[in-house]
Symmetry: D2
Subunit: 357 residues, 4 copies
């Protein structure tokens, strides 16, 4: 942290700031110029409360030097992390992974039937919701534990690893028992207790960005997973809040593809995009899937339902199985085209000489 004193700051104010920094076991590096004094903080600046420092008498402003997400940054883990689940590798130079299935698990039969066509279309991971976070108390809330059993059985019978969302600390254990990848949904991105309890299972975690989180804030919560000794982390962009206004929004959320190359550059972890929740519209899944892969996503999470008008949740955004195969084939072609071009994905990562950390 660099602490910039006001031109009008007194000697006593300067000394008091230095005293507080040192009291936390940190060093200081004072640079007094003609115009103003700047205090460089030496050591782990996270011990200092950023807002607190700015409040102190005589302080003009303070500037962070460390990123607020060191443990998930490339300065901590320089090389790409590849997360493996069964035979599936995700991240790094692995080919794109597709996690497909219905929004909600409605029965074993429904899940197996949809999973089968998804697998034939190219999906490598089976998704399905057992506990559904819902806005309305009156909506379908998911099958719960019974759904988890269907998921495990369908995954086994199809030979596909599975992913499902955990919604509450009390369900972490049972979800970890039945699923191969545990999803922490967008609404729980700020739920530190759930994040930490899930991290401690050691299982791979698909950690979704909140629709209300800036990227640095998202990563500062992802850090809690690695801080709990779990590096099986999959990051996932699934749409931010649409612009407000009095016009009818065209999408439920705004899939933020800028996050894909930024996350790849800042962190070593695989980056997944979810165009289904990210847009809420079936007709946007094909173009936004292509765009996500072209931006550098390591994989896609796509909702599929063969009878969307009967789906108990989110049917409006579910892809038909007949559409899925074409999308996956085109996305794989795009991935190959870029990787074999003169500007492959690795060239996006830069060498630190382009003006951005």
């Amino acid at each position: 942290m660099s602490i910039v004193m006001k031109p009008s700051a007194t000697k006593g104010e300067l000394e008091e700031v230095i005293r507080r920094v040192k009291a936390l076991g940190l060093g200081t590096d004072v640079s007094s110029g003609e115009f103003q004094t700047v205090i460089g903080v030496i050591g782990d600046e996270k011990k200092l409360d950023f807002d607190q420092v700015k409040l102190m008498p005589g302080v003009y402003d303070a500037i962070r030097i460390q990123v607020p997400y060191r443990l998930v940054s490339r300065s901590y883990i320089p090389k790409d992390v590849v997360v493996k689940v069964g035979d599936v590798s995700m991240g790094g130079d692995s080919p794109p992974v597709y996690m497909c299935g219905p929004c909600s698990i409605e029965s074993y039969e429904q899940l197996y039937r949809i999973g089968k066509v998804a697998k034939e279309a190219g999906a490598q991971v089976l998704r399905g919701g057992a506990y559904k976070p819902r806005t309305s108390v009156h909506s379908f809330q998911g099958l719960g534990d019974e759904g988890l059993e269907h998921l495990q059985a369908a995954g086994r019978d199809l030979g596909l690893p599975t992913v499902t969302e955990v919604r509450s600390e009390t369900e972490v254990e049972i979800v970890a028992k039945h699923a191969d990848i545990i999803q922490i949904g967008a609404r729980n991105m700020f739920n530190q207790d759930l994040i930490e309890a899930t991290a401690r299972t050691g299982k791979p975690i698909l950690f979704k960005r909140s629709f209300a989180a800036q990227i640095d804030e998202y990563l500062s919560f992802a850090e809690r997973i690695v801080a709990n000794h779990n590096k099986n982390l999959l990051l996932c962009e699934r749409g931010i809040m649409p612009l407000g206004g009095s016009f009818k929004p065209q999408t439920r959320f705004t899939l933020d593809l800028n996050a894909v190359p930024i996350l790849r550059r800042e962190t070593p972890f695989p980056v997944i995009a979810d165009p289904s929740h990210g847009t809420g519209r079936r007709d946007l899944i094909a173009p936004m899937s292509r765009a996500a892969i072209a931006a550098g996503a390591h994989g896609l999470m796509i909702e599929v339902h063969d009878r969307p008008e009967e789906a108990l949740s989110d049917g409006a955004q579910a892809l038909l199985p007949s559409q899925l195969a074409g999308i996956i084939r085109t996305c794989n072609l795009l991935h190959k085209t870029i990787d074999e071009s003169e500007t492959p994905f690795s060239s996006d990562l830069g060498d630190g000489k382009d003006g951005h950390r």
Copy 2:
């Protein structure tokens, strides 16, 4: 719900929509005009998935007739609800209530010392955090259970009821045992399991609006509390996301005072405003406290700390005890001035004849 069919919709599409509505036990009321057909849904429209209906072939759009928060609306509970805790009444025509104390409980001594000056200044409820939701894993996380014991002891010794935040389902029981009012914080507004578990304690709940929730969405989650048979509900506006952009924002959040008269008009429950978290700036607490009371707030939640530069969290926004008494006295004067004017608070509520529900 009114379902508007496309001008081009076929007879088969119309019949299919009607079939689905009736399959859910709802009635229909079909109005076929020269230009288009509209299906009125009779019964509890929440059984229908709103987005689902819009997806059906031949449907142009659908419009909700019921508000998505019926159980907390004035159409369900017409008269103001007064929530009582000890000797303190909140809501309706009660005088404003002030919930004051430090952000984090640091020790019994600290809490008692601050609570004492807060009480002398006019505060009727003692607040203090035991479990702190924090963005960074490296920040002070609160004293936990020990903090709850200090809270209970300080409240008893000062003769003040207490409020503290519950952060996780696993802590609901112990918080309910020690505190008089349980706060569900902004980050947990979407956490349906925590909301429901807390509601079932029957204790008064201070339910904060998320910084990312539109008002109707906020109320649709508040509904879960009443649906669990708990009407001891206090609503609380504590700031929404500031506008994005490349300039340094002036406040951490944007206290949305529009929410105060809207919540009072739409619901019968007491409405509290939190200018401390809502702005994050000590120097804005006085003007925004006055404004909140003038807008119709039933009370304020204000952070106070006598040694803010030593506070373990959020010192930058804590008020000094010497400032609190003046603010409370001025707010009480404003409340009285408005209630005795020719346009008292009750005149804000309207009679349904002014173009708004």
Copy 3:
């Protein structure tokens, strides 16, 4: 500006940054510590392109020391500016001013009729739109020049100064000829040519904040008015974008009352609030008017129409004349109550010792 070099910056990179700063006629004040080097820029840092500097090799980050709106800040003009139009004084310790009238001028008769009841209710300035910025090309666009003549005539006949919006550089001259105060609307806040042309008339300007502008950005555009030697500046908060989402928003915009005390503290100019456009709802005008005055607003701009269901624009938010008198009387009482309290408006302004500029 403080330019923080990366720990890894080379001597050559440091020298290059210093060379560029000096090439602009600015001085440098280099502070080399053990850990990092910080370059203090001496002189008018606005000569440096902020984003440009951050891009230079070896630079970690840069931090502004000067506010981006020096000419409208209290460091440039410490004392409150009072703007006078006819007999009306606005700003400083003057009593609140009320600018009232219809959204659109529809005829002399309509404007005079509404202006008369507004004056009787306590309004001191007559507002009315001649050129209307409209979203749809199909909506009523205003009477144009004819409307300006009605405005001037009605103002003269009622003995009230007038305010109306200028929409285009080509209309500046004629608006300046007919109106006493020229309004630059929210949609034109970023329109530098219009701002500068209007400023050069020397007329009082009511400069509205865009619904998409952070406060510092708003002030950086307000600066263009003072830079053109016009200090007859009235700032006006009229609502920011509501939060996005799939729920029906309760208001058209979100009146941001936090802006009122911030603008009063940062600048010496009068601060007006517009609850009519800021909320778009007639039933919110009374509580938000009271709140704005309690927050420290020097005045209010309120739309009034005696036949709102016939208004050619914005009838839904226009107040009935019968409601206006009560609101003005209550607001005046609140203003007096606060000014005579132990925490008058002047105590909001601080003495620079409370941790904020």
Copy 4:
């Protein structure tokens, strides 16, 4: 429009609504059911003020049936519009177009030098700013008319059509004289007078979306161009406001690629993406360019500068010429790959049977 009456609406209220609709020359189609009455409006619903109608006594809500941008919608112009400038075709099935050059024109020599390498890299249109919209009054404001002359000369000498921004009505004529395509920038998207004056020149217009405009609002302003008999319209997505919050945003704006397939589906006009302004970061231009083309963009606008650290504006986001050729070649490969796949761009447009208009 469908007007839904309240269940409690009186016969008089219903008749009054019908009377007002008919007074505007519109027909009505009343459907009275057991539960509620719905009035279908026959004719051009834009004659009705939407907010006005919702205000009328007895009205519960109103729903638009017509899109607010009919003249630019595919229901008005079903087939793709191809805009031609010189030898360059934009839109429809044309190959992608690249509009490249410096942010600001600094001299003929600078513009020609950069334009030459851009052309060699594959650019077909030369861009350069003569009048720069700037946040700060203290920044470089552009060369003005002299810049226009350089642009025309460089375009002629390089054999490239040109595009530049018009900032004010007073400059429309001179810009139209010198440039082949006139850009209306994001800050002027709401400036109806500028839009209309520019449209009347008949010249091709690159019309940028405001960072604060929802898509439907953007199109309702684009409609003003076609309403002025100009169909040489190029739509351009250039980034929306980033999410607010207290963390340092990673990008200046959020390039919203969801807008690309939505605009292609809703309108027949070419859709351009601007990753330079859309992100403000040079290192994001390659991945976001690829993503934009994969999403279906008909072209890209990219800032290029060979000496970015000397650029008088926006150097931080300008691409180096050495990077441009690789990006263009990869983007062309992606475009070809998708168009020859089993899911070509045309398959994104749907047939109206997928649940969205």
